[in-house]
Symmetry: C2
Subunit: 327 residues, 2 copies
């Protein structure tokens, strides 16, 4: 089939329009689901507050996308000290200019533990549109007050924070100069090169991504609504073409201490959080008897197996896991 | 905190009710999304019909959950001969008793190819509730008319179909007898033990899962609506307890030629299908110039780089991939 250049252009324009419409469907669906499930999440929080070890058991059963990043040393504190966990779509409830229902925050509450002083760690992921045409999650590094000699990230997280602050404070540079690394960024680069072994789950708190400010995002979203396309052809040309751009981008990527941080955020928000009850049930099935039951100290349980009635009704549930897979 | 057995029971009952309510939210959300995106999918089909190699390029960029099952030998036919692909929520449009919006069908249309005679392969996954408390996808094996010596599954698929038909035709057996394998099942078991190397993607057409008939599902769904809980305690006891059950279950699992078939179905339905435009855009970016452009034969393109204007506007899109990851 032979097609003209005009036909190709028209087809690509149709595709771009369709993509925008599919994007609207996605955000509308998130808003709808949020609306019909909001009260249910409040009820769930009330019930799980009565269950010891709810979140430790859920994180123990975390889907692979999350679990593969939890190192043995992380388990002790993440599974041992997590007290509460909360996910919020913070730009639905508090609309901001250019805000998106996909923007999501994670609040971890911890018990007193050997590794850090913080009782709460909270990280936000903003869904933002960049002038260069990029769309996706970005975040800011969150510091952890490690106890002496207990930094599970081996200094990576605090350097990621320092490098981010340094870059934010620095005046915008143009052209070649862009590629010179600041002091903190250089130290981070070296630390990353020297780092041996697996990276701690807690390095996730250092994820930045393709950083877009709230102002830039608001500007791009407003222009997109009027039909302006991004990236602007002129901006692209002025920038010296694709090759140079790619190098900048690779530089940024080089300083990402937890490159798949946005994937982990999505797995936490779209899987672990909505399916927490299923993961908990699955954990119960694996353990046979839950900690809660052990603690009840009801002697009848031992007598004739009646204690089993306290277990969840659904047994063996091949598909109990939200992924339909076996852990 | 010390809790009584009654309190534990009450908490588990609350959890079970919450799980049911979360399940309702999920199905309502699927219905809503289906409603607001139905026309859009029709429009998309019209646009992509104009693009050569749309589906081959999308499958080439398939998310890891799918891609890891596409063996080199599969690529030639799957990516080389796929002409059209369609996903339908067939129990939304054609409601049946106990039907679920999660039930999904996959229709692959192929060009003439070296491996099989079929022009269309269609596989259905039903979301069903079993009397034993199981909930999840099940399916029926779909045969492929392989050309002489071209069976990519090396006989596994046709034996899976034969074993399924055999089991369906056999009268329901009780107790110990259950464990005797039929002739086809025994042949399948042997074939699976002898099979060397990776299993073809086409073995996915043989996935069965925890098979629940339409009648059993309708009965369980109807009873659940009246508040009856599954599994029934009596049924469990009559069955001789958990251990024996587990063995049965393992036997079934042993004869599954593509154990993660339901995961792949979910990845196709919930990721590849809704995000097909993103995967296509991503493929375009990777290839620089698409086949369509090569075929247009417009000489102007070569002259001064204007041909690039026919490429999608969004370049480099770090998050263009629906997973936010790099392939």
């Amino acid at each position: 089939m032979s097609v003209t250049a005009e036909e190709i252009m028209a087809t690509y324009e149709d595709l771009a329009k369709l993509e925008a419409e599919f994007d609207n469907v996605e955000t509308e669906t998130i808003r709808y689901q949020y609306k019909i499930s909001k009260d249910l999440y409040v009820k769930r929080a009330e019930v799980i507050a009565k269950i010891n070890d709810f979140w430790p058991l859920v994180f123990e059963q975390a889907p692979m996308d999350i679990d593969e990043h939890i190192q043995p040393a992380d388990s002790a504190v993440l599974l041992g000290a997590i007290k509460d966990f909360k996910v919020e779509r913070f730009e639905i409830d508090n609309p901001v200019e250019g805000g998106d229902p996909r923007s999501v925050s994670f609040r971890f509450e911890f018990n007193e533990n050997d590794h850090f002083e913080d009782k709460v760690l909270e990280k936000k992921f903003w869904w933002r549109h960049g002038k260069d045409g990029s769309i996706g999650y970005c975040s800011e590094p969150v510091e952890i007050k490690w106890k002496e000699g207990k930094d599970l990230t081996n200094g990576l997280l605090s350097l990621a924070k320092a490098a981010f602050d340094e870059q934010k404070a620095a005046p915008k540079k143009e052209g070649k100069e862009k590629k010179e690394l600041g002091k903190a960024a250089a130290a981070l680069k070296k630390k990353m090169e020297d780092h041996e072994g697996e990276v701690s789950f807690f390095a996730w708190f250092g994820f930045v991504g393709d950083y877009v400010t709230a102002e830039e995002n608001a500007e791009v979203v407003a222009k997109k609504k009027t039909g302006v396309e991004f990236p602007l052809e002129d901006a692209e040309m002025a920038d010296g073409g694709d090759d140079e751009d790619d190098e900048d981008w690779e530089d940024e990527e080089d300083l990402e201490i937890f490159p798949v941080g946005d994937d982990v955020a999505m797995a936490l928000a779209d899987d672990l959080w909505p399916n927490a009850l299923k993961y908990f049930t699955h954990a119960q099935e694996e353990e046979g008897l839950s900690d809660v039951e052990y603690e009840s100290g009801d002697e009848e349980e031992e007598e004739d197996g009646e204690g089993a009635a306290a277990k969840p009704k659904q047994k063996k549930h091949k598909k109990a896991c939200a992924h339909g897979c076996e852990h």
